[in-house]
């Protein structure tokens, strides 16, 4: 008889803890989606704006144009100057630039997670915090 009662108590406890868990999830879920809603579009537009905004594009093209004009001004034949400009542009490697920016974005988000997990185990974190303070 007492065994049945303790079983019932255990079941009741388990059910109430499950309900609590479900309630917590239901309460936290909108916040999680809210955060994702903010961060994903910001990540995409920030990534693109850092390299492809009209200002940065204009500056980059100005640099390339300056390089070409300087070569022509120095008396280098047009065909050679064009070839050199193309090589200069291929050395810039825009795909690398984009992957660098996206890596930087992922490192920033990783840092936040990492800091929570192993703040006591890694001396590098102190260096990162130091760097971040000076970056800001």
């Amino acid at each position: 008889m007492s065994n049945d009662q303790s079983d019932n108590d255990r079941k009741e406890k388990k059910r109430s803890s499950d309900m609590d868990e479900l309630r917590e999830v239901a309460e936290v879920l909108p916040q999680l989606f809210g955060a994702l809603n903010d961060s994903i579009p910001k990540l995409i537009s920030g990534l693109i704006a850092s390299v492809y905004s009209p200002e940065s594009a204009g500056n980059m093209a100005k640099g390339i144009g300056q390089f070409y004009s300087n070569l022509i001004a120095e008396g280098i034949p047009e065909a050679v100057a064009l070839d050199m400009t193309k090589k200069f542009v291929s050395a810039l490697d825009f795909s690398k630039l984009i992957s660098m920016v996206s890596d930087e974005a992922s490192v920033k988000s990783k840092r936040k997670v990492k800091r929570k997990i192993d703040i006591d185990f890694n001396d590098e974190d102190e260096d990162e915090a130091f760097d971040e303070e000076f970056d800001e």
């Binding site: 239901a26 879920l29 594009a57 093209a61 984009i98 992922s106």
Partner: protein, 91 residues
């Protein structure tokens, strides 16, 4: 709140939130593509002004715009997210 109500709330939030994220991501991709187009146009015009011939300017602009265009495909964004997830699980 009862169990059934909690489950219904979780399902409704997931469906609603997921759709909102999808729509916002799609919109951000659209805007990003527009930005790349504008940036590339500016880039091309500045190159032309600097005296670079049309054909070469076009080639250089394509080399500049292609990586972003590829990044703004939904597949590569998913790949990026998976890589980010993979990296954090390893560390």
């Amino acid at each position: 709140m009862g169990t059934a109500r909690s489950i219904a709330s979780i399902i409704a939030t997931s469906v609603g939130g997921g759709s909102k994220i999808l729509a916002k991501t799609w919109w951000a991709i659209r805007k990003g593509r527009g930005e790349v187009k504008k940036g590339s146009r500016t880039f091309y015009n500045v190159l032309l002004k600097a005296g670079i011939p049309r054909e070469e300017a076009k080639e250089i602009t394509l080399a500049y715009a292609t990586p972003a265009w590829e990044l703004l495909q939904v597949r590569s964004l998913i790949k990026l997210a998976m890589e980010m997830d993979g990296d954090s699980s390893i560390r």
